[in-house]
Symmetry: C2
Subunit: 233 residues, 2 copies
Amino acid sequence: MKRKKYIPSDEECSFQFHPIFTHLSEEEMEVVNFEKECDFFNRGDILYHEGRKMTGFYCVNKGVVKIYKTGIDGKEQIIAFAQQGNILGYRSVLSDENACTTAQIIEDAVLCFLPSHLLIDLVKNNSAFSFQIMKLTCQELGEANSYITDIAQKTVRERLAEILILLKDKFGLDNDNILNISLTREELANIVGTATESVIRLLSEFKDDKFVELNGRKIKILDIQGLTKTANI
Amino acid sequence: MKRKKYIPSDEECSFQFHPIFTHLSEEEMEVVNFEKECDFFNRGDILYHEGRKMTGFYCVNKGVVKIYKTGIDGKEQIIAFAQQGNILGYRSVLSDENACTTAQIIEDAVLCFLPSHLLIDLVKNNSAFSFQIMKLTCQELGEANSYITDIAQKTVRERLAEILILLKDKFGLDNDNILNISLTREELANIVGTATESVIRLLSEFKDDKFVELNGRKIKILDIQGLTKTANI
DNA sequence: CGGCCGCTTGAACGTTTTCAAACTCCGTGG
DNA sequence: CCACGGAGTTTGAAAACGTTCAAGCGGCCG
């Protein structure tokens, strides 16, 4: 949890990337700006731990956060990623439960923290904001349901191909068609829900199939159509 | 979709089992009661289909509904059950998406239908109601996340044991310790996310282990502790 | 330079699925 | 009343899939 002595600029703390806040009144925005605490975080830093009480939620302005549950003998199951424009931790605040996941920085990040009471006040008093959050929650619930079906019915091979496509959709590719997110093989395995070795073997099969090119953690996407077909979508 | 010529009594259409509605004003309650359409449904009836547009949501006053997604070559993945006091279909209405699941009656039921606009109006105008729904959604999201982890990390054996416990918690046991819900082997398989034959074999192992006693679809729970241990919870 | 962490590969093992066949229960129609 | 058919259930055997264990490699940091 060691933080750099680095104070994010006002620019980096703005909510311009957060459509969620567009329906706030000027006064509400003032309160939010007064209460927010922005910070810089390093790869590896943990925002909150599964099981602990939440004191607020986070808005991601920069960087990437992985959100995971800890299962059998400590094995991570990655549930989601959050990046610029996403918020995290709000679920537990609203359902008034302890955190059901752990959130950890995987790419150096700038985050704004907002305390629980602020979220609850906004939800209770601003119906447009509340509706926005509700929509978000319902979308996430729909995605979770799809994920359950996939993981229950598809082979590891299909799921890995699908995850590569999802990562591409979420994080995009650079000029060289390389995935804009750097994950260890173990992290990939923890998304797919399989063993690290299986991911390694399958990635290397995908390489033989000319779907991807591998260079350490850099994954170059060569054939989206091939991956889509393999993913059985 | 054939319905019995049976009109539910006022008693059966009341919302006494729905804590969700306790925060409505008298006027709001009047509107709800005016707009609601209550009906009797038979086992096998389908309430709504995955992919179709939702026109409202349902409140379960009696009976049991299974909610599933259709995956690879038509295989069902059961996501949830709804019984007395539960509501269903609200998620798609609120996120303004098409239904992402199919809902089918598995135990003769009495349901009240409420149109979309009513739900949206209530959510927008009654912050207590809205907060209640939000909590519900967030809870469901938390459960979905747990389910993802389980299905990704546990063996079929562990999951089946866990599902038996969940079914016991949700539907209870009768005087004879028999699960108060009757499911086909295939339906059990579609909850666990496995093949029908695997469920049959594992149930029979559980019988040998004296965890359960089997009599057709009746499952008598003998040893919850044993099941819990097997489920690795 | 040593050690650690992450990556890779091979081989054996165990679990789960698939396919095939037979059996049971139940309701229907002859 | 019984035969028939169908759906659901059960069992066995073989095959596919994925995990686990063991070992070696490679790069990076201190």
